[in-house]
């Protein structure tokens, strides 16, 4: 883990209305990566966990799964407590990571946004301004502080040329749990807590 030393100094991080608490230790977990088909066989992952709590009673356990034969991902493990609307975090909002150049991890920065037509939150693209508005400060600066190596469009930071080239993303060292956990807390939990998208659609 690249940030192990600073991780132990920062057992929890407050961001917006969320508190991210890092659970020490890594364990082996057997399961199926989200990115693979339903009928794919189970495989092992190294699992590191963190908890996201909030001022409105959210208590969500989340894991960073580093699969043996699939791309890593951040996804919820269990919603221990919360309001009805926090259920939105259970089924949706996993964060699939992409192994990029130099084995670094590319983190697409999509946000759970309220979809008025559908009546629930869906993962959607977000501008940097929208991310800033979620926490009332520069999201880019926060991520850089937490060790992000690059931040911007996928075209700018990873030479992406397909239809995702304009998607906002960042690049982190493999296993940078602080950056991943805080990015998850902001783009998923904080977005749902603030009913992101409800006022602007």
């Amino acid at each position: 883990m690249g940030n192990e030393e600073s991780l132990f100094e920062n057992l929890s991080i407050s961001v917006g209305k969320c508190e991210v608490e890092f659970i020490q230790g890594t364990k082996t977990s057997l399961g199926k990566p989200t990115s693979q088909r339903q009928d794919a066989s189970e495989q092992l992952a190294q699992l590191t966990t963190f908890r996201v709590t909030s001022s409105d009673e959210l208590n969500l356990m989340v894991g960073l799964y580093v699969w043996e034969e699939a791309a890593p991902e951040v996804r919820p493990i269990e919603l221990l407590a919360g309001l009805q609307k926090h259920n939105e975090l259970k089924g949706r909002g996993g964060m699939s990571l992409i192994i990029s150049q130099g084995q670094k991890w590319l983190v697409p920065l999509r946000v759970l946004k309220y979809n008025k037509t559908k009546g629930y939150f869906t993962l959607q693209g977000a501008s940097e301004e929208e991310l800033d508005s979620l926490i009332g400060q520069s999201f880019r600066d926060l991520m850089t502080e937490l060790g992000a190596k690059a931040f911007g469009s996928r075209e700018a930071i990873d030479q992406e040329s397909n239809n995702k080239r304009n998607q906002l993303a960042m690049i982190v060292e493999p296993g940078n749990l602080e950056a991943l956990a805080v990015a998850y807390a902001v783009t998923r939990a904080q977005a749902v807590i603030l009913d992101f998208g409800l006022d602007v659609e």
């Binding site: 917006g16 209305k17 909030s54 001022s55 409105d56 009673e57 309001l83 009805q84 609307k85 309220y114 009546g119 807590i193 603030l194 009913d195 409800l198």
Partner: protein, 363 residues
């Protein structure tokens, strides 16, 4: 003038004390200034002369002495008053500022001017506007207050303790009225405001799709009888996505809105809903009833084109209780009233955030 007190933070007691002190200073300086002006005209009994003149016209005159800012403003804005002619550069801007200041001071004396830095900044600007042309020293105090408050609000001011000049205390009758307003707020805040106190024990769920209320999976909306639909509408106004709501014993309802526990409505009729007393802090803006609409005198906007919901019913009620051209105010509880310098304020009617100018009421 030197040695005037300035705030170092947003302490409410200090803010109330400063407002009281600057009002007193302005009144004393104006009275002295006018005294000199009238002396030059050999009118040493000018205050008595004004009293007799107003009485001869059948107008009320309750002032005891000239160093009363209410008296000075009331006289100065009337063109048949000598004071109008003795204050230099008297114009519409002066009159508008004086009227506005009078309204804010009235709210202050009723314990209903929100004791925060924004109110103090507005008051300071108004004092500068009415005292500068006469060259009163209190205008310098107003300017210093404006600079200091702006610095505090922007974070540019670094607090040094203790402050060099302590603010005098506000008069006891004012602080008592503020205590009463605060007690009311602590009891139950305006809809859309931050919930105060413990989380209530009874939990029900508001389903925005069915517009129903459930407790342990069973509908409890029928407990509300005739006010069922109105209650759900009110709750969704402050709590648009619905979800869990906690109900206190008096019926006050709390829900989490954007991560913050807020007062979202009442389960049952709102207590004191029929009282005509004016509750809460006054929104620091002035409004005019035009006869068919409401005008925000600061922005010039009209309510009919600024509210989220139709305002026809509100306009209808206002037209029964106000005359075209009447000015009025509103509190954070949505209580609409006509400012008065005499007696207790009486509520004209009530509004809510859906039928009011966006962003002016809580929620």
């Amino acid at each position: 003038m030197s040695g005037f007190s300035l705030p170092v933070d947003d302490d409410e007691v200090t803010i109330l004390g400063i407002i009281s002190a600057i009002e007193r200073s302005a009144a004393l300086e104006f009275a002295e200034y006018l005294g000199h002006q009238f002396d030059a005209l050999d009118q040493n009994e000018w205050f008595e002369d004004v009293r007799h003149y107003r009485k001869s016209l059948g107008q009320p005159f309750t002032y005891k002495h000239p160093a009363d800012l209410r008296f000075i403003i009331n006289e100065a804005v009337q063109e048949d008053s000598q004071i109008w002619h003795l204050i230099p550069n008297m114009n519409n801007a002066w009159s508008t500022a004086a009227h506005t200041l009078q309204g804010r001071l009235n709210s202050y004396h009723h314990g209903q001017l929100k004791p925060d830095l924004h109110s103090l900044l507005q008051m300071a600007n108004l004092f500068v506007a009415i005292t500068s042309s006469a060259g009163l020293a209190v205008a310098d105090w107003g300017r210093a207050l404006t600079t200091r408050v702006k610095d505090i609000l922007s974070g540019a001011y670094e607090k040094c303790s203790p402050p060099s000049i302590l603010a005098p205390a506000a008069p006891a009758e004012v602080t008592q009225k503020y205590d009463k307003t605060r007690e009311e707020l602590l009891k139950r805040p305006p809809l859309g405001s931050r919930w105060l106190g413990n989380k209530p024990g009874r939990k029900i769920t508001l389903d925005r799709r069915t517009r129903d209320l459930y407790e342990d999976g069973i509908s409890v909306a029928d407990e509300l009888g005739d006010i069922r639909e109105g209650t759900v509408t009110t709750w969704l106004r402050y709590f648009p996505l619905g979800g869990e709501v906690w109900i206190a014993q008096d019926g006050a309802a709390m829900g989490y809105v954007k991560g913050v526990a807020r007062m979202v409505g009442w389960f049952g009729p709102e207590p004191e809903g029929k009282s005509d007393s004016v509750r809460g802090f006054v929104v620091p803006k002035d409004f005019e009833f035009t006869g068919g609409d409401v005008k925000d005198l600061e922005s010039g906007q009209f309510l009919s084109s600024s509210s989220e919901e139709p305002v026809g019913d509100l306009i209808e009620v206002l037209s029964q209780r106000l005359c075209p051209g009447d000015r009025f105010s509103i509190t954070d509880y949505g209580d609409i009233f006509k400012p008065s310098t005499e007696g207790e304020l009486k509520r004209v009617t009530r509004a809510h955030k859906g039928i009011w100018f966006e962003g002016q009421l809580p929620g």
